[in-house]
Symmetry: C2
């Protein structure tokens, strides 16, 4: 019994997505992904942390690269898990430039998630709100996208976390984004994002 | 003048290599790479941090993957830089399993670095010492490898940092590695590694 208590479970997690996964803007270089790993480690898990967030990433390119990068880091013999989080670029800046419309985003997302769940335990975390001048319009698009993602995940039986609904009411997230580059917050905003994830059943189910 | 002072220089850095680049074992999930980025950010640079350290990586596979992963994250229009650090796996555990001998490591390293410098400003940081039961023998191999890397980098005019010589005399690095998994330290060991990098002319030349 006491021996079991001393055993540390080793888990390797790939976080895959765009700049919000990368933690862009965080002067502490942890983002929400590093912070949730610190929290899980403190519960007695030995976590290997792979951050595969890429700035300006859209679902079109994520669909093409995720498996190669993830399978290289999570060979079959180890306990590997994958957390996806994307959507803001599809809804705005990068997506518009690349002509990505909602039907394509939905198709890409369904394809990515249904393939991923064949290989790994998978979680999906939705896109956060933005604070630029077109905030109202963009956030309506992101809110709609988040609902679409929820439907896809329900269909595929993948736990989904809607962070948009929480963070759009957070003064910290939007205030930091506005004061920074209109999209990415600083340390306090990412800490708030991390808290939402850490309290989520989907994430907690991996550490019990 | 005051306007220039207020301008923040945006730099994106890919750190490419093995588990020591990943920061494996660090409960703070920064490793030496995250710590040197925090330090550079505090000097007024806006850093995007891409950690491409992969556990058990050897030069044979790094040679095959680095360009695809790096060029995806560092498009031509942005100020992208690359820091390589590898060698421990070539010298030991993973390399032995895969039959990687010194001549192949040297050939792979020359190939990786000479290709990389055609596209990006490049730095190379050598392999750190280990603290396992075969410590003496392995560290002799790593020390020799570090000297070989220094020669290749001199030949290619790429700044090279020999961290081995400093860390082999560090009680913190080896004590933490021994108490952990014999290879990877915890937070204090990685902080010591970061300090060596931060005081190095090669790294400092990127932030002046």
């Amino acid at each position: 019994m006491s021996r079991q208590k001393l055993e540390t479970k080793e888990i390797r997690i790939c976080f895959v997505g765009e700049s919000f996964v990368n933690g862009t803007g965080d002067p502490e270089f942890l983002g929400w992904t590093g912070r949730v790993c610190i929290n899980a480690q403190q519960k007695g898990y030995e976590i290997t942390y792979y951050n595969l967030g890429v700035r300006a990433e859209t679902s079109r390119y994520l669909k093409q690269r995720w498996f190669q990068e993830v399978s290289y880091r999570l060979p079959q013999e180890i306990d590997g898990r994958v957390v996806f989080s994307f959507g803001v670029n599809d809804s705005g800046w990068a997506g518009k430039k690349q002509g990505i419309e909602l039907p394509e985003t939905i198709e890409n997302t369904r394809s990515i998630l249904s393939e991923a769940k064949q290989f790994y335990p998978v979680l999906m975390i939705g896109p956060p709100p933005c604070g630029d001048v077109e905030q109202e319009q963009r956030n309506q698009i992101i809110a709609n996208l988040s609902q679409q993602f929820a439907l896809i995940c329900r269909e595929l039986d993948i736990p989904y976390l809607d962070v948009f609904s929480t963070l759009v009411n957070s003064s910290v997230w939007l205030a930091e984004a506005k004061a920074n580059d209109k999209a990415h917050p600083r340390a306090a905003g990412y800490a708030e994002f991390a808290t939402v994830v850490q309290n989520w059943d989907g994430w907690l189910s991996w550490f019990s």
